[in-house]
Symmetry: C2
Subunit: 231 residues, 2 copies
Amino acid sequence: MSAPQGWEAIRAEVLRRIDSRVWAPGALIPTEEDLAAEFGCARATVNRALRELALAGVLERRRKAGTRVATHPVRKATLDIPVTRLEVVGRGQVYSFRLLAQTKAVPPLAVASRLGLAPGATLLHLRTLHFADAKPFLYEDRWLNPAVLPEGLPPDLAEMSINEWLVKTVAYTYGDISFSAANASPDEAAYLDVAPGAALFITERTTWAGEAPITLVRLAYGPGYRLHTQV
Amino acid sequence: MSAPQGWEAIRAEVLRRIDSRVWAPGALIPTEEDLAAEFGCARATVNRALRELALAGVLERRRKAGTRVATHPVRKATLDIPVTRLEVVGRGQVYSFRLLAQTKAVPPLAVASRLGLAPGATLLHLRTLHFADAKPFLYEDRWLNPAVLPEGLPPDLAEMSINEWLVKTVAYTYGDISFSAANASPDEAAYLDVAPGAALFITERTTWAGEAPITLVRLAYGPGYRLHTQV
DNA sequence: TGGGCTAATATGTCTGCACATAATAACCGC
DNA sequence: GCGGTTATTATGTGCAGACATATTAGCCCA
């Protein structure tokens, strides 16, 4: 019931004109100056509205060329990448986790190359099982570059999982995430307490701090897990 | 090699201070005014930089309370939701598709309620198979509200898939996406030419135009599909 | 005709100022 | 003390004007 005001009102009106085909996909829309005159506001205000829409993928803007309605509305969805503990707690469940193994090992070639490391370098290999209400929720397989840990691993891993401790301690500048699906291996099935071959939702994350690789982690979520977002 | 200038330089400097723990997670950072004085620029410029960082989840801002470094760096990843055809073509493969079935039917209760429709309303039910280089790539199961189609379905469905025609014709204002994993049903396995029970990557999308539901679609991607993004 | 220089133009960003808004802190009367 | 009102404060947004920059269109000359 609240009519937006200011730049949000302009964004809404522009969206409406696009939706109602007043401005067709691919068409050039008036300049910021013209729109500012029409709406009776400053150009900066129009700029703010159009910039947001360009960011959302609705408009395409180029200097001198002007602003046009995106031909292929590649909508951009933003999704939050929360820490596992908060994800569980946010569902109103009790979070806990168990460190299954912690070793130093030479990673498989695929892992080393994904991290841009020389083959043969040793990494920390951690495997953790996360629980929601004492039920297995997530199986985590992590390779960690010890070089980025100034003082080794934290003393107590009671409250916080490795991941949570990592994000608070080692700031990353660049990350890379992919989502996919995979059938549960016998091991994974046993850990997550599902039938072997069950479809798992897989998240793989690689993070760097500048040039130095930090970690590569594979998260296998049990059945029923959904990643959710809005556009 | 290019030192950023203007508000991007400020964003970079703020990020640096956070990464290097000059400003610890949870700590309050100086006000816009103070930072503007320090950097020798206008407050609006600082505002722009801090706003971007808040949008990215690095900072948390509240009026009067000030700006603090996010305690739990819930990084926000943005992912593009492209049209299937472009997704395939973008991989350098040849795109094609086949409409398997097109019927009018009363949807299951779950579908009707997700769309906010009265049970018993009839919808269009479309099932489509999409190919990449003549190999099955994606199985699409779509329920479509005929009320939003002013002139029925398009005449030729040769070039463009239903989805692509939809996004160009019926603009949506609100959407809802979820990703999950599921084992292939016998039908899906047959269509996608995989073993029954294979892990499929599932995307479910619901879209509305204002209050009116447009479509609910379930996309089942064959093995090997990855959704990819960066932070 | 064609290639390269130049001018025109729309967007990108900055400044300095103003007022609006939300949320906290201070205050005051009981 | 305590609860409720008021003042203060940091951010949110607006305006008008200016300059920067990318890109196009047109011009001129070989």
